[in-house]
Symmetry: C2
Subunit: 157 residues, 2 copies
């Protein structure tokens, strides 16, 4: 029984209607372990026989994204996924093996932005940062697979 109350509060605060479908999606989301895609959520909904349409899932995720409750990330392998945001944490490290993610505070990133402004003359308004690696659990299980990069000829498939 996940804690949806914060999500409901966020919806109300922002003036969105607190509808049943949105609450269902919220529950599905907070139950997710690690990152998840819109389709996975949809499958999960069907599995639980929850009545929410495809479009609604997408629309709800969009709203939650805007409210800062989830973040839409782009995986290195070119896919898209969402992760739940932990309050006060603004970026994520996501495990390339199991997909679990952890929020991280703004550890010096603001400083980097300032350095970039100084060097480029750009006025930096926002940034998107995603870190990838192995979570503590997978570090133990993983025998540090490969270190090499794909063979050029093989890589081109």
């Amino acid at each position: 029984m996940p804690d949806i109350s914060a999500w409901i509060a966020a919806l109300e605060r922002a003036g969105y209607f607190v509808t049943l479908p949105r609450q269902l999606v919220a529950e599905l989301v907070v139950d997710q372990d690690g990152h998840f895609t819109a389709s996975e959520l949809l499958l999960d909904a069907r599995r639980r026989r929850l009545k929410v349409g495809r479009a609604t899932v997408f629309r709800a995720l969009e709203v939650f994204d805007q409210l800062g409750l989830v973040e839409r990330i782009d995986l290195p392998d070119r896919g898209h996924a969402y992760v739940v945001c932990q309050p006060a944490h603004h970026h994520h490290v996501v495990c390339t093996r199991c997909g679990r993610s952890s929020g991280v505070a703004d550890l010096g990133i603001a400083a980097v932005a300032r350095a970039v402004e100084a060097e480029t003359g750009f006025e930096v308004d926002s940034h998107r940062i995603e870190l990838y690696g192995l979570c503590p659990v997978c570090r133990l299980e993983a025998p540090r697979t490969t270190g090499g990069r794909p063979t050029p000829l093989a890589a081109a498939r």
Copy 2:
């Protein structure tokens, strides 16, 4: 007449065939001003009446991406685009107004990664960082449009 030679050299060095289509795509790419999408490149090719297939453009961009000649980025507005990489620069600031981008060195990002490792126990292998803002030119032209966020009700469309 753009400088494709470095790109050709990179292809050779990596063992890829230096084909005409790849060279055409390379030219199209370096002629781009700011970021560009695969489709835009395709349109541009047709405009110039260059004979390259859709699939080839995608495949060439994939190769260039692997060679570190371009980077595939994900825009805040949910679109995807590519930017040309300047050697020795590993991240980009892209202008939210005109799309022009500038490469930036690893200004303290490695330190951030280390801090994250210390805090989360993750082993950080790679990261994806994109900075957004206004380029020097647009800073002058732009009367700092809006500062507010979209109205909740309006935002939900």
